[in-house]
């Protein structure tokens, strides 16, 4: 539904150049919720703005719903008629809502309909419908200043849906909201996706958002996509940074001469009591150093760090058993692993942007 090829964005100032996007190839399949995560400055914001050409990419192409947007007329900051029309079919939701304080809630939802050229009566009818859809039917006459953050974002979503878009872009839509509200807004997005068959591209720095709604995710680092795939795929990928960020497990070995193993559960295996089976079968004492389990896209997934007595050589057979059960097993050289994560980390702590 959304495809970018070799997307590059270079910002030029008088004395230097900053490469925000460095050849991004992204494919978002129809009907998916696709999350792009990354630290601030990784290029997420530039990426989402290049999708509807709010920012014109320096090179590369963007295709949305079979239409190559980068080929449409539009010179610099000014968007041509065709591009504006295409934008009308792409909804966008913003971190700071970007509602007009000069208009009522209803007026805000009517604005895109005005741009699309709907008649007055038609606009009001449709706007009421949309407000009903996001659960704000009773707030039509209120002004944005009278709403809570979550309500404002619901208005933002209703507004984004006005043009019956197939694609919804979400720019850190929940980053300004508290966790409770974040969950309800994400649930709304999920429901709308099912109900309207939307394809959603969202950028976020919050792993919880990916866990809560995303079918697929990509990790951005310094203007490049470094990992990309469905969430189960990512979890099944040994050494996946995203998997580690999604389910961070901590814990250090209790003594020398023990083997630390990270086990990733995904798919069918999650319901099997694998650890107790392992313990019984091989008569080993297993310590659980850390674990993170959650529901992703309706399936139980998670990661666990366990400690087995003896060196790796002593544990080849038990580890083989775990792999046979369909689990992803990584042997972590305890000290090195911790260091590595510190170097890579910081994603979770980025909330103060």
């Amino acid at each position: 539904m959304i495809t970018t090829k070799g997307l590059t964005k270079v910002y030029r100032t008088r004395d230097r150049e900053v490469t925000a996007l460095d050849g991004v190839d992204l494919h978002v399949p129809e009907g998916e919720v696709f999350g792009v995560v990354g630290q601030s400055g990784a290029g997420k914001s530039s990426l989402i703005r290049c999708i509807n050409l709010l920012e014109r990419p320096t090179s590369g192409t963007v295709t949305v719903d079979g239409q190559e947007l980068t080929a449409l007329a539009g010179n610099g900051k000014r968007a041509g008629k065709e591009l504006r029309k295409a934008r009308g079919r792409i909804g966008m939701v913003f971190q700071h809502f970007n509602l007009l304080s000069s208009r009522t809630v209803l007026g805000n939802v009517e604005l895109p309909l005005e741009i699309l050229g709907h008649s007055g009566q038609e606009r009001t009818r449709k706007a009421h419908e949309l407000l009903d859809l996001v659960g704000l039917a009773d707030k039509a006459k209120a002004h944005p200043a009278q709403l809570s953050g979550g309500q404002k974002q619901r208005v933002g979503i209703a507004r984004a849906l006005a043009g019956d878009p197939k694609v919804l872009l979400s720019d850190e839509a929940t980053s300004a909201l508290d966790p409770e509200t974040t969950r309800s807004v994400l649930q709304l997005l999920r429901d709308l996706k099912e109900q309207l068959g939307l394809t959603v591209l969202l950028i976020t720095h919050e792993m919880d958002v990916v866990k809560a709604v995303c079918d697929s995710a990509a990790l951005m680092r310094a203007g490049r996509i470094t990992e990309s795939g469905t969430v189960p795929e990512l979890l099944a990928t040994p050494g996946s940074e995203l998997a580690r960020e999604l389910f961070p497990v901590g814990g250090v070995p209790s003594a020398d001469g023990r083997t630390v193993v990270d086990v990733t559960f995904h798919g069918e295996t999650t319901t099997e009591p694998v650890i107790s089976k392992l313990s019984r079968t091989y008569n080993v004492d297993i310590s659980i150093l850390g674990a993170a389990m959650d529901t992703v896209a309706g399936k139980q997934v998670g990661r666990m760090r366990i400690e087995l007595p003896g060196s790796y050589e002593d544990n080849v057979v038990p580890i083989g058993f775990l792999r046979e059960q369909g689990l992803t097993v990584e042997v972590a050289g305890a000290a090195g692993d911790t260091k590595e994560r510190e170097a890579a980390g910081g994603l979770v702590g980025e909330g103060a942007k």
């Binding site: 610099g76 295409a86 934008r87 966008m92 700071h96 007009l100 304080s101 208009r103 200043a145 043009g163």
Partner: protein
């Protein structure tokens, strides 16, 4: 002056001020709004980013804002004449007022529009909105409270500027305050006009603030504001009310102006200084003109340039404020063709003092104030020389300056604007004051002057003047005859008690 005399001045001044400010506000709104928006749009990172346009428009706005208003007023005279067909009067004052206010308001618009969150622009663009959509649906509505506040400030600045409109005969409260309060020592008029101005400015500010509050309340910020704003907001849609007020109020004022702007072909329009020229003309208009079938319209000017340029361009038919040396100099320097018709009166220049009682008491170390314009200064120096207070270099002409003095005899001179000289009397030992300003300052040339010019053969008699070729206009002839009538002679003698003397007859060359 009594209240019954002040009242019509105040009313006329009030309406003139409203008329000028109303119109110029509307023009500033229409002109400043697009310029301000353009400055934002063409700025770096703007939707229509265009550095050359932005720099040029910005530079023009800066030039407009740095010109002192009085300079703009004079510099724009040809343009004003081109736009409204005349360069004097309230309507003519609107042009420089508006041109002065456009860049001022444009900058306020720029600031207001720049304050609008960029995210909103992005949101409208993401919906597929074009640049005009962004401007009209997001930028302007969002900036409306700030725009109203800016407009309020502009109106108040315009009220201040309009005080200078008297220079081109525009009238208005500020000009009444200057004309009567400053030049004629009518403190009661000055206090009344200043109070009226304070009331108007306060009212404008209160209305402006109320509209801003109303708009804010309408945006749901009422919780913090409470009471009044919220109640007003319920009365109607705040934005509609604000826009309507911004349009209707100036329009109403304009309507008044059109009603009073009638132009009668038969009427002889005469530009004059307020004292004594306009007073003499008003006497003629009230008591003598009707019998002769003459329709007269007297226009008062505080300035000595505009009456001549207006006569040259035909916007007024005649003027009465000047003497021969001044006119000759003016004609030469400005390439105008104004000719004298008939002498009327002389305002003898006199030497006055609050410190000494006779000429002989003035001596080395004393300071003497003299007018600073070329004609009056020369005239003053000749008066002093005639009374042996100084010696002029041989051949010093009518336009003698301090540099033409051969021997100052120890006197120290202060050069001041003619109108300001009587005010300096407390600070100097003596001053040479023009007759009309002396009268205004309650001085009596016949009694108070230590020395005064001779009326006989004086080249400084003031005359009625017209553009060359109009001398024989029957209306001009009638007015000339009336100005030299026995009734006018009596009027001058009774009213000015020797401070101003009748000096009838043809003008010598």
């Amino acid at each position: 002056m009594s209240w019954s005399e002040i009242q019509p001045l105040l009313f006329q001044g009030f309406w003139d001020t409203l008329y000028m400010v109303g119109w110029s506000t509307l023009v500033a709104l229409v002109g400043g709004l697009p310029i301000g928006v353009l400055l934002v749009l063409t700025d770096k990172g703007g939707m229509l980013q265009n550095a050359p346009v932005n720099k040029v428009v910005g530079a023009i706005v800066n030039v407009g804002r740095s010109l002192p208003f009085i300079i703009l007023l004079i510099a724009l005279i040809p343009f004003t004449r081109f736009v409204v067909g005349q360069s004097v009067g309230s309507t003519a004052a609107i042009v420089p007022l508006a041109i002065g206010a456009i860049p001022f308001f444009a900058r306020l618009v720029e600031t207001a529009v720049r304050e609008v969150d960029r995210g909103l622009v992005e949101a409208v663009q993401a919906m597929g909105g074009s640049t005009p959509t962004v401007v009209f649906k997001a930028l302007l509505p969002q900036a409306l409270p700030s725009l109203v506040a800016g407009l309020t400030t502009t109106v108040i600045v315009l009220i201040g500027y309009s005080a200078m409109a008297g220079t081109v005969g525009g009238g208005g409260l500020g000009s009444v305050a200057v004309q009567y309060g400053y030049q004629r020592f009518e403190t009661s008029v000055m206090v009344a006009t200043v109070v009226a101005l304070i009331v108007i400015v306060t009212a404008v500010q209160i209305i402006g603030d109320a509209v801003v509050r109303l708009l804010a309340a309408n945006r749901g910020a009422a919780a913090a504001d409470g009471g009044a704003g919220k109640r007003l907001a319920r009365l109607g849609r705040g934005r509609t009310v604000a826009v309507a007020a911004a349009v209707v109020v100036p329009l109403a004022l304009i309507g008044y102006g059109i009603g009073t702007g009638g132009d009668d072909k038969d009427t002889l329009k005469v530009a004059a200084s307020p004292t004594p020229h306009a007073e003499i003309l008003e006497y003629v208009e009230k008591h003598l003109a009707e019998k002769e079938g003459l329709k007269l319209e007297v226009r008062k000017f505080n300035d000595y340039v505009v009456p001549n340029t207006a006569t040259e361009s035909g916007e007024v038919d005649a003027n009465f404020f000047q003497h021969k040396p001044y006119l000759d100099d003016f004609n030469k320097k400005n390439d105008t063709h104004i000719v004298p018709v008939v002498n009327v009166e002389l305002e003898p220049l006199g030497l006055y003092s609050k410190k000494v009682h006779k000429l002989a008491d003035l001596g080395p170390g004393d300071t003497v104030a003299v007018p600073n314009d070329s004609t009056n200064e020369g005239r003053a120096l000749h008066l002093l020389a005639d009374h042996k207070l100084i010696e002029l270099k041989p051949g010093a002409g009518p336009e003698a300056t301090l540099g033409d003095i051969a021997d100052k005899k120890g006197l120290d001179f202060r050069e001041l604007e003619a109108a300001a000289v009587p005010r300096a009397l407390d600070d100097v030992d003596a001053a040479v004051v023009n007759g009309n300003y002396a009268v205004d300052a309650r001085l009596n040339p016949a009694k108070d002057a230590l020395a005064a010019e001779q009326a006989k053969g004086n080249p400084y008699a003031n005359f009625l003047a017209v553009k060359d070729g109009n001398q024989d206009d029957p209306r001009v002839r009638k007015l000339a005859k009336l100005l030299n009538s026995p009734q006018v002679e009596k009027f001058i003698e009774d009213k000015y008690k020797g401070a101003i003397e009748p000096a009838f007859g043809p003008v010598g060359s």
